[in-house]
């Protein structure tokens, strides 16, 4: 596959490095030094020029390219690059944007801006952060279909409400499907009458809100709910997006921002979040606001140094979990080494997401369960699939028993899979498949 990457910053070069082994990669960047450096460091073709120019894209071989990734640090440039590339033919375009507004627009109208796949750096980072702090009861959480669907694995404890019930009795969440239980290391496909016992692990697939709600019934003591306390320090766009994602899950965080004007802006945009105007590194203040009792502190200022300081201060005050945003990728390990629980680098997260997207063929995404005993796979249904054009009940009868349809998304909307749901070509389906059924299922769907 021939891939053109426009913008050779941290994200672009990261993607280039990941793809160089298996694909023909052409990198376009306006900066001559970057281009020169890249020519020597990676096995890629580096071209100097502006990616919004049709002739530059022509030089990069847009005519033969299968995919174009616009990953400069400027949103508008990335959109313009994709739009320009689309004028030359049917190249698959991927744009990286920071501003989640573009993502909203794109989600509402597929193909907007000439973009086929869009990744919002800040939103992606925010979702990563929320996943880390939001479901401490979960032993594993993986996003599918760009975060619309979550697969989560929970430990069922004695105190858990669902312990001792059957799957049917526990399945009270609209957007949630029980996929399987892990019992003594064995994967058991969840059927209506399967009992759930303490000590089992439950694997569920559903929309993030339902998974969050489910998490509360599984582990009420450790899962944050409305009363739980999450503190975000720093009103950067990532801080804002994190608060927004938390609000979407019904969690009201506290957000500390030093700049009064930005604070006001955030307070107006986040009705469910308590915004406070103060210096987040002021220990007196943090103590006065009982930040020590918070379940998690997220350091999301625009300065890495401050984020480190805030995380360490919070840790020192006794906060259980600290998450820091690190813009400079090479510091991630250092952060975690000195005591920050999780360090998240937005560019790395973005590059990973894009690479994951480009690498999978028919399988859009996958996740391994209990050492390959089962896989959760995301596929795009085509006309030839055994699932296409008929109710799930019918198609399931023909498939082996080790498969569960966890979630369906149509366009950007979540569809709850029920027996009479008809799967249409173009839908994304998240399947839970036991290892022994895998090859049969994959060839059928």
């Amino acid at each position: 596959m021939r891939v053109i990457i426009v913008g050779a910053g941290e994200v672009g070069s990261n993607i280039a490095a990941s793809l160089a082994d298996s694909h023909d990669v052409v990198v376009v960047d306006v900066d001559s030094e970057t281009v020169e450096e890249l020519t020597y460091s990676s096995d890629v073709l580096a071209i100097e020029g502006n990616g919004t120019s049709l002739s530059v894209l022509g030089d990069a071989g847009i005519g033969e390219a299968d995919m174009l990734i616009a990953s400069t640090d400027d949103d508008e440039t990335n959109l313009a690059v994709c739009g320009t590339a689309k004028t030359t033919g049917d190249v698959f375009t991927i744009a990286r944007v920071r501003n989640a507004n573009f993502l909203d627009t794109w989600r509402q109208s597929a193909g907007a801006f000439g973009v086929d796949f869009m990744v919002s750096t800040n939103l992606l980072t925010a979702q990563d952060i929320v996943r880390v702090v939001g479901l401490p009861a979960a032993v594993d959480v993986d996003p599918f279909v760009g975060g619309l669907v979550q697969m989560a694995e929970f430990e069922v404890t004695e105190e858990s409400e669902i312990a001792g019930r059957t799957v049917e009795a526990a399945d009270t969440f609209e957007g949630l499907t029980f996929a399987a239980l892990v019992r003594n290391g064995d994967v058991v496909i969840a059927r209506g009458q399967t009992p759930i016992e303490a000590g089992n692990k439950a694997i569920v697939i559903g929309d993030p809100e339902s998974v969050q709600a489910f998490s509360r019934t599984v582990a009420p003591a450790t899962t944050p709910d409305e009363a739980r306390d999450i503190v975000i320090v720093g009103g950067s766009d990532i801080g804002y997006q994190t608060a927004r994602v938390l609000e979407d899950r019904g969690l009201g965080a506290r957000l500390i921002e030093q700049d009064p004007e930005r604070g006001r802006e955030l307070a107006e945009a986040l009705p469910g979040t308590l915004v406070m105007e103060h210096d987040g590194t002021d220990v007196e203040f943090l103590a006065g606001e009982h930040v020590d009792r918070a379940d998690a502190v997220i350091a999301a200022t625009e300065s890495d140094e401050k984020n480190l300081l805030i995380s360490l201060l919070a840790k020192n005050l006794g906060v259980r979990r600290t998450v820091a945003v690190v813009e400079e990728g090479q510091y991630t390990n250092l952060f975690e080494a000195v005591g920050v629980d999780v360090a998240i680098n937005p560019r790395e997260a973005t590059a990973e997401e894009i690479v994951r997207f480009t690498q999978e063929g028919k399988i859009e995404n996958l996740s391994l369960i209990e050492g390959r005993q089962a896989e959760v796979v995301e596929i795009e249904v085509d006309e030839a699939s055994a699932l296409a054009g008929r109710p799930i009940r019918e198609s399931m009868a023909e498939l082996p028993s080790g498969v569960v349809i966890g979630a369906i998304t149509r366009g950007r909307a979540f569809v709850v899979p029920r027996g009479d749901t008809v799967v249409e070509p173009g839908d994304h389906v998240v399947l839970f498949v036991a290892a022994d059924a895998l090859s049969t299922v994959m060839s059928a769907v």
Partner: protein, 498 residues
Amino acid sequence: MSVRVDWRVSCRLVGTILKWLWVPLLLPLGLALYDGTRLLPFLAPMVGTVAVGFGLERLTDERDLRTREAFLMVALSWLSIALVGATPFVLAGEGVLGEPVNALFESMSGVTTTGATIIVDFERHSRAVLMWRAVLQWMGGLGILVLATAILSQLSVGGAQLMETETQTQDVNKLTPRISETAALLWKLYIGLTGLQVAVLYGLHLLGLAPEMTLYDAVAHAFTTISTAGFSPRGESIVAFSPAVQWAIVPFMAVGATSFVLIYFALQGNLDRVRDSDEFRFYVGILASFSLAVGGVLLVDGGPYTNLEAIARHSLFQVVSIVTTTGYASTDFNTWSSGAKHLLFVCMFIGGMAGSTTCSIKTLRWLVVTKAFRRDLFTAASPSAIRPVRLSGSVVDEETIRDIYAYTLVSLIFFIVATIFVVVDASRVGLAVTEFEAMGAAAATFFNVGPAFGIAGPLESYDPFPRSTKLAMTFLMWIGRIEIIPVLVLLTPSYWRS
């Protein structure tokens, strides 16, 4: 010294309104013709207002209205319409209305949709004169200014300016890109609701449920219900009609005091807008809780009623009537216990929703004041918290909150000063007025409610008050209706000086 205000522009626009005032005069004229009563009281002001209107229009060619001129125009137009409205009363010379101060009081009470009447003996007045009171209120209901805006569609910028001055709720809530279209839409809605009420009231008559409700009564009451105004051609107000009529009038008063923008959306089938409106829920909550409270008091102290239906009907009717500033009476609430009367007194200060025909402080302001105060309590304990005040999800800016606090405070000060004036002026002439009655009368005129308690009670008349008090009350009604600010601005010397 040059003048900063181009008063000629304001007068020109007032003239444009005046030259159209012959149209509403047609209705009482027609009725006078039909009844065979004198035509001159209506013909003369028709000629006069058109002549003055054209005269004022000749003052200048300039039509663009700016903020300063808008204030003057708003204040002047209500005053001049009240003056025109008073002439038929003076010329007809029936009973106490023949006296010019009384006529001006009655006319101002009409256009400001107050509903406080000077009339003592309703039998002495011709149907045409009584209908003219109702027409004045109907015009005043949605605001002569909205009508004016529709006519003055050539005012591109000034139109929005005018509506803003009129509604005082910061955003105009334009329903259409053109202000003149919005105004036309509001008037269609208004006419539609009035027509519906006529049909309902007269329908009840045809069904035999309201023997007293003639077509004339149905029209006159519809005019003064939707406009939340409260003049009735009957001395006994709504007491004169059957319980069916009283029940039927309640929802129309409530609708008249509901934001017309919301009604518009509801008619469009957009019920989410209604459900999501914090102010609407607050307004309905106020009506419900005060009705229950009054009903509870009447139930406990026995009240003058024997059955539960009557208690429910009168408590609901009176609360809705006073909160919406309509001022109709379904019963003589003067005879109620002190507790029930005090609850009604509190209702005078509430008012209906912003963007409706109602007066008083309005639920929007009370809701913002309540929310802002709750926020302030929170930030007192948590000084670094930033908590915007939200209304139906959107943020109310701090400047608006300050304006609303100021407005509410100024209103209460005006009310206190007015009360003192009434007490002092009444005792000067030896009129026995208790403090509660004085407070009631001051609130009823300033907040454009209409009837109060005691000598200004629902079935009484404002006639016994001395002439000076009547003039003061006329002033109160005027500034109360245009929400004080335009008049206060005019009274500021710097407004006039450069």
